[in-house]
């Protein structure tokens, strides 16, 4: 861990405890859906907000009693909304020699390839055929808008954004109504299959039955043969799969979650982030 190189020993040891504890609590709360205590909806809430709960709990723990004096390294943020190096927001891009502009071309190419692949893959992962989305895809337009969003980021000296890989599919999932269906998977595990004649009989069963029926009654067989065939063999395993219905394809939830992240930058909320120990955040993946 980085902490053992830079910090004092007691701070580093506390960081280690915090990191392991956060991971343990978050991991166990994440599996709350399979618990037997509490009611269903409460278990679901615990599982959904496992990370938040463990971060709050262990941030609180790092302030109790003498632990607060240990000098754990925390997230380094300015006290009010300004840049980290307390520079102006606008980048002084005109004060560079001309060759820098040309030298930036290959790196622009790398960034473009990265965004092209990363964004389209996250877009694909959140629009799979199983999700039953109704409003269709828009890959080209999205790429254009993504390119446009890089520009203000560059002017203000911010790292640019693209589609998040685990979060975007999770966002779609949280908007969907999912029902779980269990289906029995059957196999035809007949021992007589080794016999060549039996195999032939099995293969041509339907044909033979129809012929026999015609011969006996002079009409087509009435009973549903397909039903009968399905009942043969024994159940191999129960195949569980999800059916996605009615995904709320809206613009309000992505907008509001971005706005909430903006709200965090407000004067009194930013120092709150500065109180989270680093060790708590390094284990949350």
């Amino acid at each position: 861990m980085i902490f053992f190189q830079d910090d004092a020993l007691e701070a580093a040891l506390l960081s280690l405890v915090l990191a392991i504890g956060t991971f343990y609590v978050a991991y166990n709360l994440n599996q709350a859906r399979s618990w037997h205590i509490l009611v269903g909806p409460m278990r679901a809430v615990l599982a959904d907000y496992a990370v938040l709960i463990s971060v709050i709990a262990f941030t609180g723990l790092s302030y109790i009693g003498k632990l607060g004096d240990a000098g754990v390294s925390r997230v380094d943020v300015p006290n009010e909304f300004s840049t980290t190096a307390s520079r102006d927001w606008l980048v002084r891009f005109w004060e560079v020699p001309g060759w820098v502009i040309v030298a930036a071309i290959p790196f622009g190419g790398i960034l473009t390839m990265l965004f092209f692949f990363d964004h389209n893959v996250s877009s694909l992962l959140s629009q799979q055929a199983d999700f039953n989305l109704k409003k269709g895809s828009a890959y080209h337009w999205d790429l254009l808008v993504l390119g446009l969003s890089i520009l203000p980021c560059s002017f203000l000296g911010l790292p640019p954004c693209n589609g998040l890989i685990p979060q975007a599919p999770l966002h779609v999932r949280s908007l969907a109504t999912i029902s779980e269906v269990t289906r029995e998977v059957k196999t035809n595990n007949n021992n007589h299959n080794n016999n060549k004649k039996n195999r032939w009989l099995q293969k041509n069963k339907r044909k033979l039955k129809r012929k026999w029926s015609r011969f006996r009654n002079n009409k087509e067989p009435e009973e549903d043969i397909s039903q009968e065939e399905e009942e043969e063999g024994h159940s191999l395993y129960h195949h569980k799969y999800e059916i996605w219905e009615n995904v709320y394809e809206n613009r309000v939830s992505p907008l509001m979650q971005a706005a909430l992240i903006g709200v965090v930058l407000a004067p009194y909320l930013l120092p709150v982030i500065g109180r989270i120990p680093r060790a708590v955040l390094t284990v949350l993946f």
Binding site: V77, A85, V96, A104, A129, A138, L158, C161, I165, A258
Partner: protein, 238 residues
Amino acid sequence: MEEAIGEVTDDAFEGTTNNNNSNNEKEAKEFLHVAPPTRILKRLVLGICWLGCGIRKDLRRHLPWYLDDWREGFHFRVLGSIFYTFFTSIAPAITFGIYIQDATDNEMGVVEVLFSTALCGTFCACFFGQPLVIVGVTGPVSVLYAALYDIASSTGVDFLSFTFWTGVWAFLMHVLLAVTNTCYLIKYITRFSCEVFALLIGDYYSLLVNNKNVERICLYTLLLLKLSSTLPRPLRIL
């Protein structure tokens, strides 16, 4: 001409979701199927010939839904989704912020990453064709920016100006890619390559924690276990 270019469909995922015996052959066939280079070349040439065709089609498909997108958002269920997505996306944002702050000697930091996520998120939610894809600063971008800082500081150039020009070039190339219909090529991205890319992202996460290889090996083993269930049966190793 529109039929010649075709539509981007999700058929890359068909057949790989079921683990049935009956689908196994189909699965294997799809896994082994590689798009012939001539077809990719044909698409590229067609894309250059019909500039902006993809964007026009996207807009034609999505503009009728635009008001409906806003209307559908006012539902109780969406409220829960907002908070859930917020908490799942802010923790990695802070972590990447810390990484960038360490790697660039406080030139960029947590505040920049959060501000960028808020700004781009708002912009993209309003104007994306598919607003469900939420945006944020990812691992590869922060690693690239750390590399850019190393290059800029070794040559004595102002880091932020360098990233500005990189961003401007990236913007121009994005417009070029979007206008020349290159997104039709993602039809050839299969579930397998998606998962491999997810593996790469996971690798970046382990890079951020420290450079020890133990975690990386654990991660690869876990992801290999996960991956092997998506492979057709003869290729399954675990």
